[in-house]
Symmetry: C2
Subunit: 330 residues, 2 copies
């Protein structure tokens, strides 16, 4: 039998475990051209909040009773697509379930011989590519510039700051709590990291960015964004990748420093990584090279067992995770 988690109800405000329901279902059988995948890892990502919101978002949301959407990394167990054979490691759009069967075209084969399979859901997967294109195409920092990134210890933020360092910039993170900030500076090599829970956000960011902020990679929004806006330099760039502080709020935060966009002639741009799908190989290679050479480090936060995926997502949305949030399925 297969196990899966479906959406039981739409959350209002904070997500709760009651919004989900575990189910068993018959083991899927691959038809011609299809592949059966046994999932080892499920990725939990902030975008999932948007999928279970009734507000308009990037893509169609999950309906009540449908399997929660999400990406997995796993192993082919049966293949009716000649491009795949049992034992192949793949990432798949499985959703929250132990097994998935579908068209081979939807799978990505990955080489997990040099790096752990789970990395293809994190620094070598969607979050890594999001950091790469958001930095390269929107933040576009020049060597010597200062890049600020919020949720700096997270799956995307940690890559953003390490790319900034690899590209010759000053990297300043913002994260919640001393442990995360210490990790960001000592393990990931950022120049500084501000604990937003410690108060004095404006003064602390200002002190860490003596030449102001040239580029901001925004994952959080709200007061953090409003504060960084005060410190932006002329012709600064802001990649709007996420606004996690708003996702669970019933009323969105009102951004007071919009004026900075005018006065400093900022470019502020929203992004979704799918816009660069043709260029994924470029990002994959660049990120793999950095991982292999030790310039791109990662940390994982693991929840054990599919049944704990809702708990894992709730923790992620509250910032309780520390590094890339995964669910270990096998």
């Amino acid at each position: 039998m297969n196990k899966r988690i479906v959406l039981a109800s739409y959350p209002e405000g904070w997500v709760s475990e009651a919004n989900f329901r575990a189910e068993t279902a018959p083991m899927p059988k691959p038809a011609a051209g299809e592949v059966l995948v046994k999932n080892h890892w499920l990725s939990l990502d902030p975008y999932m909040r948007g999928r279970i919101s009734q507000q308009k978002s990037y893509v169609k949301g999950v309906e009540i009773g449908e399997v929660m959407s999400g990406e997995t990394a796993g192993e082919v167990v049966e293949s009716k697509d000649p491009k795949f054979k049992p034992g192949d490691k793949v990432t798949a759009p499985s959703g929250w379930q132990l097994y998935w069967s579908g068209k081979g075209d939807l799978l990505t084969k990955v080489d997990a011989s040099k790096v752990p399979l789970s990395y293809f859901l994190g620094c070598l997967g969607m979050p890594g590519r999001t950091a790469y294109f958001g930095m390269k195409e929107i933040c576009a920092p020049k060597p010597g510039e200062t890049v600020v990134v919020s949720a700096a210890s997270g799956a995307v933020g940690s890559v953003v700051g390490q790319l900034a360092k690899a590209w010759g910039c000053r990297a300043v993170g913002i994260a919640g709590g001393k442990a995360k900030c210490d990790y960001v500076v000592k393990d990931l090599g950022f120049d500084a990291c501000i604990d937003y829970k410690a108060g004095n956000l404006l003064d602390n960011i200002k002190a860490a960015c003596p030449k102001g902020v040239d580029a901001c990679f925004e994952n959080v929004g709200g007061e953090i964004l409003d504060t960084v806006l005060r410190l932006m330099n002329l012709r600064g760039r802001i990649t709007v990748c996420g606004l996690i502080s708003d996702y669970n709020a019933k009323e969105p935060y009102g951004v007071k420093m919009f004026r900075s966009i005018l006065v400093n002639r900022l470019k502020v741009q929203g992004m979704i990584v799918f816009d660069w799908v043709q260029r994924y190989p470029e990002a994959n290679q660049a990120l793999l090279d950095l991982v292999v050479s030790g310039k791109l480090k990662t940390r994982e936060s693991v929840v054990e067992g599919l049944e704990n995926a809702p708990k894992g997502l709730i923790g992620l949305l509250k910032g309780e995770n520390f590094g890339k949030q995964l669910v270990k399925l096998a």
Copy 2:
């Protein structure tokens, strides 16, 4: 004697006449390389509010006791620069005064044989070029797209919408009051104009933009911006040219729909026309061609006499002007 208006005090909130003081001064005498200009027209523009604010803005502000800054159109009366001769029509960075003397390099000679001299402060001057580059380089609308512009009957907005029409777009204005809206549609040829004072802003813009909004040229900010953000299409562009609704507010408006930037992958960019100074001739020619061919119409709101310039600026900031606001000096 020369007459001029200086800044007496910085306004807090709304500007008042008491923030200015009229002075007389000796007639300036041009030194070698300098030109004496008699001003016929003084331009009043929303950016002036920023010049007399103590907040950080584009450029250095006006100090207490200094002549208020502003551009004029006038006539050379004496020249010690071989490039100019008496009778030449010019625009000059005179500030609020009847006569100005300074380096010829700071003057722009204009050909007022086909169009009124005052046009070089409006649709053929800084406001026209602002509309041109903000539209061409940031809004970048394709034929068939919908362009929304706030302050649609103003010096910049009126050009924005007429450019949108000239470039094959649907042009929808937002203005205050029925008279302005009627003018924008009937005289300027916009497809629709919404009276923001009439209430139901969201429904009214929605009805005027059945295919959503692809590009927004923002002059006002505040609730108008927040409302348009709700209607932006995927990959829409917003030129942030002005936020006049904030200029006199003691507390800035909090923009609630920032999320639209993320969800719709918008590009939002602040601008100042000086960034394209090398390309002014391109804009000047394009705008002149449109005026001469009757495709770019303009309307002027004239205050008589330098002493009434403060009153004119206050009216402009309150939206009481109707078209390009000028002060007639001679």
